[in-house]
Symmetry: C2
Subunit: 479 residues, 2 copies
């Protein structure tokens, strides 16, 4: 089906509803539309037009929301760059994406991080002339609106296309599960360059729902909003959930009864957290989603939170989940996903690789099973994925960097449990004479800080299977 | 996008939620699925299979809901026959639709109404063997699931295709406007062979929401449910709204605070009704929809009910509305509609006629305008449509019958306001010597009772314009 240009249509349908509230101000949908349209016209004066691709490197604040909507009013593809990446990583993605322009907020513009790349800052754009254009009122389902890079088993980042149809069907499947009321407001403390944050902005404009936006996670502020009833939903990971619960506990308080949805992604939530959250009146909905599915594929409802502990729940209404090679309940295999929310593929150097099987299933690389009632349980995240403070880290990517060091002959990386971050990466090396310090300094040059191993172990051999494949789960056992 | 076979998917996603409550019993989605699947397998034993077309002539009760879902589990097209039509009218539609089979409920089977047509009764089907089949799990958007006949300017009934995409997008656009909560339940006292009733059944299975079904409108029962809080939404027309309001007034009662949506179709609601409904705590949402748009295109929210009195509201999120030939606010012209809820066309003898303009707009035939804020006002229903007790009556269809009488030389039909029915049809005739009685008896043979003129006026001439076209609005003035 054709999809209306979100903000353009929303501003027509319900102009006076509250759209966005943050530190810098608040906007109705009409105001958001007018402000974004102005920026869109300024972007257009740099000859950016429908179908072009721009990259965005910025902090997750209200101004960035305006620039995102401006880009979509122009029907431009936005490549969301993770501001925690190193210059090397950013350059790689910018080159791979072949963008027309890199838009950066003014704080980013003042750092030397993108020395080699030509950037346009927010304030440069805002000083430009406005050049009028005709808004594309209806989007084809398969029009790409956003691109996010994610690494996989190979360690090579792939630019995942997220289309108008992906985002729209994801938001619609979610509303059928979570419901919607006049007073809904979603608290966003997730980065907008992650699907967890961006999907909130998109739900907001599709639903006519308010977003309350914070640039960074702030447990005290989250607890205050949740107990005051100014918000009705929030997206977190287990780590940040725990921090919010602590604040609510310390204040001897409770979530306001209108707070309805605490959506927890990034892996299962420990029973202890669930019990404490329940004490605080927080309705927990554990979810399983990824960049390739533009947010949630399955979500465990609050009524099942304890009964189905550890489950990621049922598929949402438009989605299908099956386990590769089996129809048997509780038999573990690769999780396959089908639905209108699944990416059609990648851009750039990986554009010839399809993430889909011949009959249209996304092979996630995650291992899991379905129980007798059809609830999904994830047994092992794909490619030994390490989830650290909500960021996905792929061991292969770190291993590739380590192997590029002259002294390193073999490298293996796995996750180690960590009280603060949930998990952190640890590296095992077979190498010539070299210090841990030198390796870490080398990593810091080439990897975002959260990807730098927290520990280096020098070993004589790495566990490999018969076909000489690295068995990372054996590394993990040896910790 | 591909759409999951509704009930099949809903029973997987939320099997234990309440689906249907009525006089004959109540069903969860799992129970509804199992009961419907059994009937589907019995239908399949008559060699009915995916892609076939069956007609359904029945009363609007729970058993009929099961037969509708059974047909859709089989991925069969259902032609919904209006049980108030005459044998002539039914035969015409059944022939035009070229159905494999006519399914009738047992009460219909006992009447002589379909003497010339071979029918299969519910009980015959329920005594058949079950023949297993593989459920089509995903539907193409453009798969036709229902057909409803509607007459237009020519008076020839056209079988309107309603696809999986039409119904699904309609339900989704509606939920973004009306919201959704865990405890939602929609009271259905509309016939299921009308889009107003059928769309409730469809929303129910897409949302995972309960339907409370009554075979016939019952003001007392409606008022009881609304004041008790057992339902949160209901669909009515102005006539039935008034009757419910009277009962609530007489009981000195109020709608329960959880009752959120009184959706009023079939023309504007008088200010007096709105004021009285407000007194009763009934949130009125006036809507503009038709068979060709699988329910609502525009809906006026409760906050605007008085401020925008007489308006049909704003387009829903996936829809576009414009006035033919003008971009000026308040300029009257034909209402054009675009959106994924608009029918792709007709079946049978009219299948070569497209209801759409070259660039994909549905020409409604209705005259209206948009005000400065984009609110739609309908000035005149298409083809001088007569709406009598919620039924659409097309003057041309009655005129065609009248003109077939040997004594009638010219005929013109228009609406007359009526306290009980809203409107009733009145006929103007130029004829040879013939009695009103004879004409009415003749009409009763060929037209459903509600279409038979309530009054015949014999005249010397009919008002015609320069090109000799009948000006029905002039007839109306002469009443």
């Amino acid at each position: 089906m054709m999809i209306p240009n979100w903000l353009h249509q929303r501003a027509k349908v319900s102009p006076e509803l509250s759209a966005l509230v943050g530190k810098e101000g608040q906007w109705t949908f009409r105001e958001l539309y007018e402000a974004s349209l102005g920026i869109a016209q300024q972007l257009h004066s740099f000859n950016i037009a429908s179908g072009d691709r721009v990259a965005l490197l910025s902090h997750s604040n209200e101004e960035t929301v305006l620039f995102i909507h401006a880009s979509w009013l122009l029907s431009v593809e936005v490549v969301f760059l993770n501001s925690r990446l190193t210059e090397d990583e950013l350059e790689w993605q910018i080159n791979d994406a072949e963008v027309e322009i890199v838009v950066v907020d003014d704080r980013v513009a003042q750092t030397p991080i993108l020395d080699g790349v030509e950037c346009l800052s927010y304030s440069t754009i805002r000083q430009a002339e406005r050049k009028e254009f005709e808004v594309v009122e209806l989007w084809e389902e398969d029009r790409t609106l956003s691109v996010m890079y994610t690494s996989g088993t190979t360690g090579v980042p792939k630019g995942v296309r997220q289309t108008a149809g992906n985002h729209t069907s994801s938001a619609l499947a979610s509303v059928l599960n979570l419901g919607l009321t006049d007073r809904d407001s979603w608290l966003c403390m997730m980065p907008l360059f992650h699907i967890s944050g961006l999907s909130i902005i998109i739900r907001s404009v599709i639903y006519g729902m308010e977003t309350r936006l914070y640039e960074k996670f702030d447990a005290k502020e989250a607890a205050a909003q949740i107990t005051a009833g100014t918000v009705t939903a929030m997206s977190v990971v287990a780590l940040t959930l725990d921090q919010i619960v602590r604040v609510i506990e310390e204040g001897n308080s409770k979530a306001h009864p209108t707070f309805r949805t605490m959506l927890v992604g990034g892996g299962p939530v420990p029973l202890d957290y669930l019990e404490r959250a329940a004490e605080c009146g927080l309705p927990i909905l554990q979810t399983y989603g990824m960049t390739e599915t533009s947010s949630q594929t399955a979500t465990l409802g609050k009524v099942d939170a304890v009964r189905k502990l550890g489950s990621a729940g049922k598929p949402l209404f438009f989605n299908q989940i099956k386990i590769k090679g089996t129809d048997q309940a509780r038999e573990v295999g690769e999780v396959l996903i089908k639905g209108p929310h699944v990416t059609p593929g990648y851009i750039g150097s990986q554009s010839n690789r399809s993430p889909l099987t011949g009959d249209g299933w996304l092979a996630t690389g995650d291992a899991g099973y379905l129980d007798e009632e059809g609830y999904l349980f994830i047994v092992d995240r794909r490619a030994d994925l390490i989830i650290s403070g909500g960021e996905n880290i792929y061991p292969a990517e770190i291993e590739n960097v380590l192997l590029a060091h002259p002294a390193v002959r073999e490298a293996g990386v796995c996750a180690k449990d960590d009280d603060q971050w949930g998990q952190v990466p640890v590296a095992f090396l077979i190498s010539d004479q070299v210090s841990e310090q030198e390796i870490l300094a080398y990593c810091a040059q080439h990897l975002a800080r959260y990807k730098v191993p927290k520990e280096i172990r020098f070993v004589d051999q790495l566990p490999r299977n018969a076909s000489n494949k690295l068995m990372r789960f054996e590394l993990k056992k040896s910790l």
